[in-house]
């Protein structure tokens, strides 16, 4: 076979591969959107789920997902920030730091069922939190910490060293230099990291099945006292999320319109994650422009 023929053959094969992949991609997204979008209605988004009859909605699950996400970020962000700052700004280059980095890598590659299992043992049982949003948020924190830490560290590393030297050479403490000079510049990168990790947290289910539970009790959306049992803000109540709901209606098989509900819920999930992705990009660009060129006219 001549070189030219091989070249053409290889190129053709690559095109074929790409064709297949594009078909799969379109098929996937098309399937979700075509089966899912028609099921999305105001009623679907705003009514409670029903177990044994058709026509249930996803109101509580949607809210639970968002609330859980918020709680997870609130818990994990400060620690991830501290850890990211330590790794990027303070950590000496020695074996302890190497070990810490390895630990973070191990945590990020841990299967999420294992994290869920651990959360079940520690938070649900040992700490006696029961199936609760708080237990779920703590489990998701495990899952979220390494991703967030790494993206914060990367964002900090992207800030030129000259900026640190500028601050330090003026007699500022390292800490002030970091918080007042380096962090503001790294902010767009950090925000992008948060949003991307939010997308992952939002779709996670395996770590939640046995931590935040599989039931969505009716809650009172008017009750803002988060200590009261039926308040929608109560972190101690069980809370089935959207992703867990999709899994449950499909595996239990008792809901008559499981397919329609799952399709609708999947479409909602993907649309929200899409919004996260696009938002991260957009926000990153805007903040970047704002910080660098800014109003130079």
């Amino acid at each position: 076979m001549s070189r030219k023929t091989t070249d053409r053959l290889a190129t053709g094969t690559i095109y074929a591969f790409v064709g297949v992949v594009v078909a799969i991609l379109c098929g996937l997204i098309g399937y979700i959107l075509i089966t899912g979008i028609p099921d999305i209605s105001w009623h679907f988004l705003t009514s409670a789920a029903t177990a044994f009859t058709a026509g249930g909605g996803i109101r509580d699950q949607l809210f639970n997902s968002l609330y859980l996400l918020l709680l997870t970020l609130v818990i994990s962000f400060p620690f991830a920030l501290g850890c990211g700052i330590y790794l990027s700004e303070y950590a000496p280059q020695n074996w302890v730091t190497g070990l810490l980095r390895m630990a973070i890598e191990v945590l990020s590659s841990l299967p999420s069922v294992v994290v869920g299992l651990f959360g079940y043992l520690i938070f649900v049982i040992r700490f006696n939190l029961g199936f609760s949003i708080l237990a779920g948020a703590l489990a998701l924190t495990f899952f979220n910490l390494p991703i967030l830490t790494r993206s914060i560290e990367e964002a900090l590393q992207d800030v030129p060293n000259l900026q640190r030297e500028a601050g330090v050479s003026l007699g500022l403490s390292n800490w002030r230099t970091i918080t007042k000079i380096v962090l503001p510049i790294a902010l767009p990168g950090i925000l992008t990291g948060i949003i991307i990790s939010a997308g992952r947290v939002f779709g996670e289910a395996a770590a939640l099945i046995y931590t935040s539970g599989q039931s969505a009790p009716t809650v009172d959306y008017g009750n803002w006292n988060f200590l009261s049992a039926d308040s929608f803000l109560n972190p101690m109540r069980p809370a089935e999320t959207l992703a867990v709901h999709i899994w449950k209606v499909n595996t239990e098989g008792i809901t008559p319109d499981a397919v329609a509900i799952s399709a609708g819920a999947s479409a909602v999930l993907i649309v929200i994650i899409l919004i996260f992705n696009v938002g991260a990009r957009f926000l990153g660009q805007r903040l970047y422009q704002h910080l660098t060129a800014s109003k130079s006219k």
Binding site: T13, I14, L81, A103, V113, L121, S173, I273
Partner: protein
């Protein structure tokens, strides 16, 4: 000028600020480190309890073929043979990676080398979106579209290794593709022009120069994909059939380590053997994830040495 001397020797506000900042960030870092240690410790002690407390032999756990922890088997010990799950987990992982790699590399080449403009701008964001699609969604599509299709095409229940492999294939494809594209993009442009200047065809250049230079990165991408496949729980659980039996064919219901964990945890009580053996399954997952991790490190070190 005594005052200046004094100032130079005294701690100032800045010293305290730095002390504070360093302590607080070190605290966060050690907390994260301790979390990892805690997880490893718990999974290990719990996972080993099967062998230390319940005196199951490692052999009968790893090589036994019947899984029925509440029953006493012929040898007088509970039947906790995990082999079927280990085999199924390995099978779906390897098959999915094997299937996905050529496609992923093809698409990565297309996106970075053949049509960086058209391909990059359209395909790239799509692949990134797919990386972020939650696994339950893949599981749901597998269950509602793929399982009936398999049943229709090949008969049987439609659940099994084949369906699991296909779902995992679609799941790891974007992961491998996007990591492989990154490593292809990192190949210096001189390599291309040098090869083309020597009269190589595009494929010769890609195959002999670019792919070779990016090989460590591509291998790493495949391992990441395998790690994701091996640890994936729900998507597989929804299409694998969940019967702890040795896979007898492409489409007989079986069970992976993760799917058994997912279904089993809720039905056992802590401290009993049926619960302990589930932790042992988790321990296998943990060990595999550490294994994938060190593989990535090893390749990274080898790749750096060659440069």
């Amino acid at each position: 000028m005594d005052r200046m001397k004094q100032n130079l020797h005294q701690a100032s506000k800045a010293s305290y600020q730095d002390y504070f900042g360093k302590s607080i960030s070190l605290f966060c870092a050690s907390l994260v480190g301790m979390l990892v240690v805690a997880i490893l410790y718990f999974v290990m002690t719990r996972g080993l309890a099967t062998f230390t407390q319940n005196h199951i032999s490692l052999r009968s756990f790893l090589l036994g073929q019947t899984w029925n922890p509440t029953q006493i088997g012929a040898n007088g010990q509970p039947e906790v043979g995990a082999l079927p799950m280990i085999v199924t987990s390995l099978a779906v992982t390897l098959l999915a990676a094997l299937l996905a790699t050529p496609f992923a590399v093809g698409v990565a080449l297309f996106v970075t080398e053949i049509a960086p403009r058209r391909g990059g701008q359209l395909l790239q964001p799509m692949i990134e979106l797919l990386v972020g699609i939650p696994s339950v969604v893949y599981g749901f599509i597998g269950l509602s579209a793929l399982v009936p299709l398999m049943r229709h095409l090949f008969g049987g229940t439609g659940f099994g290794i084949l369906t699991g492999t296909l779902v995992l294939f679609v799941m790891v494809l974007p992961t491998i593709t996007s990591l492989a594209s990154d490593s292809l993009r990192a190949v210096p442009l001189d390599y291309h022009s040098a090869a083309l200047a020597l009269g190589a065809t595009r494929w010769q250049m890609l195959y002999k120069v670019v792919l070779r230079a990016a090989l460590p990165g591509i291998l790493t991408a495949v391992i990441f994909g395998m790690a994701r496949a091996f640890g994936e729980a729900l998507a597989v659980q929804m299409v694998i059939g969940n019967a702890v039996l040795m896979p007898k064919g492409w489409l007989t219901p079986t069970s992976t380590l993760t799917s058994q964990l997912t279904t089993g945890i809720g039905n056992t009580t802590l401290g009993t053997l049926p619960n302990n053996v589930l932790w042992s399954l988790a321990l296998i997952l943990l060990v595999m994830s550490l294994f994938f991790n060190s593989l990535v490190r090893f390749i990274g070190r080898r790749g750096r040495m060659q440069k």
